[in-house]
Point group: C3
């Protein structure tokens, strides 16, 4: 079985060799753990964001930038994401479900080394584990750079020397956040599938392609938080190619996978987030969905789709002066 | 003169070093020849398909993925293909015209080493030959992995030790097939030109750019065969920039280069293929064409075009439940 | 501070190792300076053009090709350009403002080493200087390959041995020219900002994204010159993300940044160029502008835009037989 962490070595080394050109910082914590600052003290860059995201998918997926012209005439950055190993790249790597302490959540291939019981993605029989990892690589979105205490807890949970721990960090208002959250469009879809009572389709997922609009970097934290999530809720589309015996396995869950299934459909993430006292889990969980999902059955040749990208909502979310006055 | 086979070493080595992350298999036949399974026993991947195609063009062309939204609202994978050396990349490499035995046809740079009389592309005076090749790299689309007998025949025709033969193999229902056939849009156009009585334009071809819609992977063999060919017939467009003394050299052959010139225009490949008892050469040869061709004359500054991409036919070809009921 | 010239070493080495596959030539002048011919005696290629442009931006920006279908139904090559370090990549590298002699102008990272008083971009306090450069890399668009006299003047102005000077050369009618000029869309915008009385916005520029249509290679020199400039004037759009305290800093200069501000708006570059006796500086300087500029204020979340891409003008510029008969 492939080692997800060893698989990102090449791109990690590229970042370490070129951190300055990527507008990043690279240094060690006192305990020896390695910090790559891609958007806290450092500014980060489009290329840093792309590399972060591919590493966060265990380098089993690709991210491509694209210029997209909205109906309102403005250009918008977009990402296209592809993977042929959705379970490894997403469930066992990109999903952010490893609580590393101090309220921060880790994502990326390092999760498959850490023996942390709260990471529900590994809570199944015969779960993948990266037993050959020579290093541990985690993406961390937070307001601060993790300190020694956190790094040493990770090292312990991974049974790895801190010298071999690499933490790629950024905050909500960085370009890395704007890109890597939008590029979670495939992961967001898989996560929705995992939340269904009937998850049988998960093991039929073969190939995945996604598209999402990326918010321009905005310095206000609530605004940024709203925009990067609207990228998924109203600006993201995923397409899965699956091997299902019957189309019914698809059609019975598809309507529940998209944002329009939420009672709060149509309202901006920022508004709902503030109403929920900035607490993700107090929001209607159905809102954390992709705008549109398409599923193609490789067995029957049929395709099914639900939901739509809402450029009108994206325009008013991303550009404050395009919001309708009330 | 450049060695087409030596030119693919870098990308070939990348595949050998990363075959597991590419969802491929890599092993040797008893005779020593190297098999890279990219879609028979192995699943293959989007990245494997891209690398296969670039290697098949002797790494003198590029393939880029793109998300394209069809008129019917569904997203469709597409490829963009570019080359600045169309004759070397296509005639002497990508065209599949080397019968390697057992009904299988080889493509790729290795053709320029093999002394096989049936490969008509080399049947001209002063034909390119790769006399400096240190290895032989061939792409093979077939239902089975070639065996020792085939590999040793290739080695003999190339006057090369089997240890230096690399066969990149996949079948019709793999992602590699779906991508690499669609990415033959430039080669399909060149091949049509070569079939004309007046082929003078061939030596005027300077730059080439193409676009083609890629079918989602479908497990039924006839369905897959139909879709990957419809990618070219109804979903592919090429643009050549040529140095012709007069525009008339272009306009007199252009109408014959596209699918709409065929008496069977508008019917799906699968239907015609089944009618022809699954025999490619029993079909109207004019059907094996690109949907649209554009030719720009670098001398006169004029552009000419013929044919059109037919998204309606692509929708009903790729997605069974979008077919009109009869 | 990053060394812009050292930063391009990796891509420069790639060109030196693969010049034949890139349809380039590589050799030394008698004095020892290195010439990479990418479009004078050599033909050049799409990949050569992409690499030239990224090197010319000090490898702090990316260039991606894209297939774009014009309203007239013809496909057109386009480039997407991105940088997260606009001042370093553009002002101190890509802008062509170093007169190297014989009427030729140098661009690229080497400018930041040369002590040449005519290069106005460095004529400010605390200007960036590449003091760590181990080599000097310049892009040169000209009708001839620079000779020993020019190369030795550059070596002297850079206080560098000729052996460490690399000149990447091409002429107006090459594919490299068509691409790299179109890809100046961000630089053209920055240059316009620098020409304003109030340039305060320059230091607020954080991220930049651009799009421009690329002309097919045309052999007539005046035609080529017209087309590659129309790429910017009528076929190019830039989007800057800025940190301005007030939106007014943006809105007061935005209308002056685009082509439509020129009294000659709507007329083709070729026509105006010929009227001005082929002298760039005799033309209305306001015409040397991007077709459209969008500026997003990261502080306020507001976006502003001016001008539009004019596909009608591009069609008749790029394709002679699409010009309206008078």
């Amino acid at each position: 079985m492939i080692s997800l962490n060893n698989n990102v070595k090449r791109k990690l080394q590229f970042i370490l060799d070129n951190y300055e050109a990527l507008s990043c910082k690279s240094y060690k914590l006192p305990c020896g753990a390695n910090i790559i600052d891609m958007g806290i003290e450092a500014k980060g860059s489009f290329e840093a964001a792309r590399l972060f995201t591919e590493i966060n998918m265990a380098d089993l997926g690709t991210v491509t930038y694209r210029d997209y012209v909205l109906e309102d005439g403005h250009s918008c950055l977009a990402v296209e994401v592809m993977t042929s190993e959705p379970i490894l790249a997403l469930r066992y790597s990109q999903i952010a479900s490893y609580p590393i302490g101090d309220g921060m959540i880790g994502s990326g291939p390092g999760r498959a080394v850490a023996r942390n019981k709260e990471d529900y993605c590994f809570d199944i029989p015969d779960s993948y584990r990266d037993t050959e990892a020579e290093l541990v690589v985690l993406g961390v979105q937070g307001q601060r750079v993790p300190d020694d205490e956190i790094a040493m807890k990770i090292a312990e949970e991974c049974n790895m020397s801190p010298d071999n721990i690499y933490l790629l960090v950024h905050n909500n208002t960085s370009i890395v956040a704007a890109v890597q959250v939008a590029a979670r469009i495939l992961e967001q879809t898989l996560h929705k599938i995992m939340m269904q009572e009937d998850q049988s389709i998960e093991y039929a997922l073969e190939f995945a392609r996604g598209f999402a609009l990326v918010a321009p970097v905005t310095l206000d934290d609530d605004e940024a938080m709203g925009k990067i999530n609207d990228s998924l809720l109203y600006g993201g589309r995923s397409q899965y190619w699956v091997k299902c015996k019957s189309d019914e396995e698809i059609t019975r869950i598809l309507p529940k996978l998209v944002t329009e299934y939420s009672k709060d459909y149509g309202r901006s993430f920022r508004e709902l987030y503030l109403e929920a006292d900035r607490t993700y889990y107090k929001m209607d969980l159905n809102i954390h969905s992709p705008a549109r999902v398409e599923i193609f059955n490789m067995n029957t040749g049929n395709i099914f789709s639900q939901g739509n990208i809402r450029e009108d909502i994206i325009s008013s979310s991303f550009f404050k002066n395009k919001r309708k006055k009330v």
